[in-house]
C-alpha cells in the first residue's frame, strides 16, 4: 500500500461525496455526502502523516473531526427546522428568499 493508493481512495470518496451532493434532494442525504467529502480530506491528512512522518496531519484530522461534529449538529438542527416548517426535508422546498 503506497501513498498514491490511499490518495486515489480519498479522491474516489470525495467524488462520491460530490456526486451525492449534486444529485440528492433530501437534506439528510446531502449532509451525508458532505461528511463523505470531509472524511476524504481527513484520509488525506492521515495518509500524509503516515507516509511523510510527523504528527501535524493527525492533529489536523482531529481538529477536522471536531469541526465536522459541530457542523453536523448545526446541519441536523436546520434539517429539523426545515421539517417543522415544510413537513418534508427536500432542500428545494426552501427557496422562500427568492420569492
Amino acid at each position: 500500500m503506497t501513498l498514491s493508493h490511499v490518495l486515489m481512495l480519498a479522491s474516489a470518496l470525495f467524488c462520491v461525496g460530490v456526486y451525492g451532493l449534486l444529485t440528492r434532494r433530501q437534506a439528510i442525504a446531502i449532509l451525508l455526502s458532505v461528511e463523505l467529502m470531509a472524511n476524504a480530506a481527513n484520509l488525506v491528512f492521515i495518509a500524509m502523516s503516515r507516509f511523510r512522518g510527523g504528527v501535524t496531519g493527525q492533529v489536523f484530522a482531529l481538529f477536522s473531526l471536531a469541526i465536522t461534529v459541530a457542523e453536523v449538529a448545526v446541519g441536523l438542527a436546520l434539517v429539523i427546522l426545515l421539517y417543522r416548517s415544510h413537513a418534508d426535508t427536500r432542500v428545494d422546498l426552501a427557496s422562500e428568499l427568492k420569492q
Partner: protein, 607 residues
C-alpha cells in the same frame, strides 16, 4: 522706512482702520452719527498724510518704495505688496482723499434723514472705498492695483445699491457690477499675459511689440469698462441711482478715474504700443462727443452730469492716447474737483427740491445762493471758461491731440467743448435761474453747514487748480508750458458761445418747444440703442449659450451618471433569473467553480 513711505502708509491705513472698526463694532455702526465721525476722522488723517506727502514731493523727486513679499515661488518672489511713492501716486492720493473727505462731510447733512443703521452702513462703505482706492493708487505692481481695482468695484456696487429696497437701484448696482466685471477680465488676462511674457507684474517691463499691444489692449478693455467709455458706458448713467454724494465721489471724481489712472501708471507699457494709443485716441474722442450729445437731452440733473463725466473721461483717454500723460492726468485732477463740486451742488439742490428733474427746480439761485454759486462755478470750469481750472487742463488735452489722426479727434473735442458749455448752461439756466416751477422749488432753502462747507472747500481748487499746472507737472517730472495761443482761444470762444446759445435757448426757463436738433437727438437717445444691443445680446447670445450649457449639463454630464445608474438597475434585472433560490443550483455553482479553479491551478501555467 523713509518719511514719504510713512505718510503713504498712514494715508492707506487710516481709512482701513476706520472701515474695520465700523465693520466689527456693530453698536458703533448702529448709532449712525458716531460712525460718521470715525469714517471722517480716518479720511481727515488720510488727507493730512496725503497733503504732507505731496508737499514733500516738491523738493524730492526720488521714488520711494516699501514692499513685502506676497506671492512666492520657491526662493524667488513673484509679486509684492506695499506702497510705491512717486509724483503720480502722491498727486492721486491728494485728489482722492480731498474729494472723499469733502463728500463724507457733505453726506452728514445729505444722509441725515436715513435711519441710523443705514447711516452707519453708508459711512462704513465710504471708509472701505477710500482704503480700496488708496490701495489701488499706491500699488507697487499691477497685481496690487488689480486687488484695489476689484475692491473699488465692490464698494461701487454696494453704494449704487445703497437703497437696495428700490428695485431700480438694485438693478443698477447689478448692471454696474456686470459691465465692469466683464471689462475687468481684460485687466486680469492682461496681467497674466504680461507675467507670462516678462515674468513680472511691474509697471515698466520692455515687451516685444505684439505682446505690448496685446497687453495694453487688454488693459484698455478694463479702462473702457471702469472709465465708462463707449460702448461700455451704459452702467454709469444707471449708477446715478446711488446717493448723490456717492455719485460725486465714485462715479465722477475718483473710481471712474481709476481707468485713466491705470493708463497713467502703466504709461511705460502704453508707450510701447502705438496701435493701442491710436485706438484710445479715437475711442476717447468718440466717447467725448457721443456722451456730450446724450447729455444734451437729459432732464435729470444727475444723468446730465453722468454723461458729462463719460464725456470728460473721453477727453482724458484721448489725451493719453495722444501720448500726453500729463494732459490726461491733469484733466483727471481738475475734473475730480469741479465734477465733485457739481455733483455736491446738485445734491444740495436735490435735497432741497426732492427731485432730480431740472424742470422741477428753477429759480433756485435766489433761495440757495451758495449752491447756485458753487454749481455755476463748477459749470464754468467744466465749460472751459478762461481762468478756471477746467480751462487749463482742457487746453492741455486739446494741445496734445492737435494734429493727431488727421486732426479729427481735435475737431471732435473742440465740438464737444462747445456742446459741454451748452448743456451745462442749460442746466444752470433752467435749474437755478428763471422762475420756480413748483411749490417745492419756491420754498427751497439753503442747505446746512455740513453740506455748504464742502462746496466752499471744493470751489477753491475748482478755481485755482489750473494755476498750479507747473507745480503739478514738476511733481510728475514732466515738462509743462502753457501759452494762450490760437487753440485755447478757440476752445474758450466755443465754450462762451455754448453758454451764450444756452442762454438764448433756455435763458427764460425750460422751453415747451424743444429745438429741432435736440429733439432729433432725444428721439435717437430714447431708442436706448446701445442698451438694447446689450439686452438683445443678453437674450440671444448669453441666454442661448446658457441654455446650451444647461443642455450639456443636463443631458451629457448628468446623462452619463444617469446612464451608469440605469445600467446597474437594468443589469441587475437581467441577472436576477440566474438566482433560482434552490440550494442544489448553488452547490452546482460552487462545485463548478472549484473544478474551474483546480483546472486553472494545474493547467494555468500554459498561459
Amino acid at each position: 522706512m523713509t518719511p514719504p513711505v510713512l505718510y503713504a502708509l498712514v494715508a492707506l491705513w487710516t481709512p482701513a482702520i476706520a472701515a474695520l472698526l465700523l465693520a466689527i463694532l456693530y453698536p458703533l455702526r448702529k448709532k449712525g452719527q458716531p460712525a460718521a465721525v470715525v469714517a471722517i476722522l480716518g479720511s481727515l488723517v488720510s488727507l493730512g498724510a496725503a497733503i504732507t506727502l505731496f508737499t514733500d514731493r516738491l523738493h524730492d523727486d526720488a521714488t520711494h518704495r516699501l514692499v513685502v513679499p506676497w506671492i512666492g515661488s520657491g526662493a524667488s518672489t513673484i509679486a509684492e505688496v506695499g506702497v510705491h511713492v512717486d509724483g503720480v501716486s502722491a498727486s492721486m492720493l491728494v485728489v482722492v482723499t480731498l474729494v472723499a473727505t469733502c463728500v463724507q462731510v457733505f453726506s452728514i447733512g445729505y444722509m441725515h434723514d436715513e435711519p441710523p443703521e443705514a447711516y452707519g452702513r453708508y459711512f462704513t462703505y465710504h471708509a472701505l472705498f477710500l482704503f480700496s482706492m488708496n490701495l489701488l493708487v499706491v500699488a507697487p505692481n499691477i497685481l496690487q492695483l488689480f486687488a484695489g481695482w476689484e475692491l473699488v468695484g465692490v464698494t461701487s456696487y454696494l453704494l449704487i445699491g445703497f437703497y437696495f429696497k428700490k428695485p431700480s437701484a438694485a438693478r443698477a448696482a447689478v448692471k454696474a457690477f456686470w459691465v465692469t466685471k466683464f471689462a475687468d477680465m481684460g485687466l486680469l488676462f492682461g496681467l497674466l499675459v504680461l507675467f507670462a511674457a516678462s515674468g513680472t507684474f511691474g509697471w515698466e517691463p520692455t515687451l516685444s511689440p505684439p505682446v505690448a499691444t496685446a497687453v495694453t489692449l487688454l488693459f484698455f478693455l478694463a479702462v473702457v469698462g471702469k472709465s465708462a467709455q463707449f460702448p461700455l458706458h451704459v452702467w454709469l448713467p444707471d449708477a446715478m441711482e446711488g446717493p448723490t454724494p456717492v455719485s460725486a465721489l465714485l462715479h465722477a471724481a475718483t473710481m471712474v478715474a481709476a481707468g485713466v489712472f491705470l493708463v497713467v501708471r502703466a504709461n511705460p507699457l502704453f508707450e510701447q504700443a502705438p496701435i493701442t494709443r491710436s485706438i484710445m485716441l479715437g475711442l476717447g474722442a468718440a466717447t467725448a462727443l457721443f456722451a456730450a450729445l446724450l447729455a444734451l437731452v437729459q432732464t435729470d440733473i444727475k444723468k446730465t452730469l453722468a454723461y458729462s463725466t463719460c464725456s470728460q473721461l473721453g477727453y482724458m483717454v484721448a489725451a493719453l492716447g495722444a501720448g500726453s500723460m500729463l494732459g490726461g492726468f491733469f484733466h483727471l485732477t481738475t475734473h475730480a474737483f469741479f465734477k465733485a463740486l457739481l455733483f455736491l451742488a446738485a445734491g444740495s439742490a436735490i435735497h432741497a427740491v426732492h427731485s432730480n428733474e431740472i424742470t422741477d427746480m428753477g429759480g433756485l439761485a435766489k433761495r440757495m445762493p451758495l449752491t447756485a454759486t458753487a454749481f455755476s462755478v463748477g459749470a464754468l470750469a467744466l465749460a472751459g471758461v478762461p481762468g478756471l481750472s477746467g480751462f487749463f487742463s482742457k487746453d492741455l488735452v486739446l494741445e496734445s491731440v492737435e494734429g493727431k489722426l488727421g486732426n479729427v479727434p481735435y475737431a471732435v473735442l473742440m465740438l464737444t467743448a462747445f456742446l459741454t458749455a451748452f448743456y451745462m448752461g442749460k442746466v444752470v439756466f433752467v435749474a437755478f435761474f428763471g422762475k420756480p416751477s413748483g411749490e417745492k422749488a419756491a420754498h427751497a432753502h439753503e442747505s446746512g453747514p455740513s453740506m455748504s462747507g464742502p462746496l466752499v472747500v471744493l470751489m477753491v481748487p475748482t478755481v485755482v487748480a489750473g494755476y498750479f499746472g507747473a507745480t503739478f507737472a514738476k511733481v510728475q517730472g514732466e515738462p509743462y508750458h502753457f501759452a494762450f495761443g490760437a487753440g485755447p482761444a478757440t476752445a474758450s470762444a466755443l465754450g462762451l458761445a455754448g453758454i451764450g446759445l444756452a442762454y438764448a435757448v433756455y435763458g427764460r426757463g425750460p422751453r415747451a418747444a424743444v429745438p429741432a436738433p435736440i429733439a432729433m437727438i432725444d428721439r435717437v437717445a430714447k431708442t436706448r440703442a446701445v442698451n438694447r444691443v446689450y439686452e438683445w445680446g443678453f437674450r440671444n447670445v448669453t441666454l442661448v449659450l446658457a441654455d446650451g450649457l444647461a443642455f450639456i449639463d443636463r443631458y451629457v454630464v448628468d446623462g452619463l451618471i444617469n446612464l451608469l445608474g440605469w445600467g446597474a438597475i437594468e443589469g441587475g434585472r437581467k441577472l436576477r433569473p440566474i438566482q433560482t433560490g434552490l440550494a442544489p443550483d448553488y452547490v452546482l455553482a460552487v462545485v463548478l467553480g472549484v473544478v474551474g479553479l483546480a483546472v486553472w491551478a494545474v493547467f494555468g501555467s500554459w498561459r
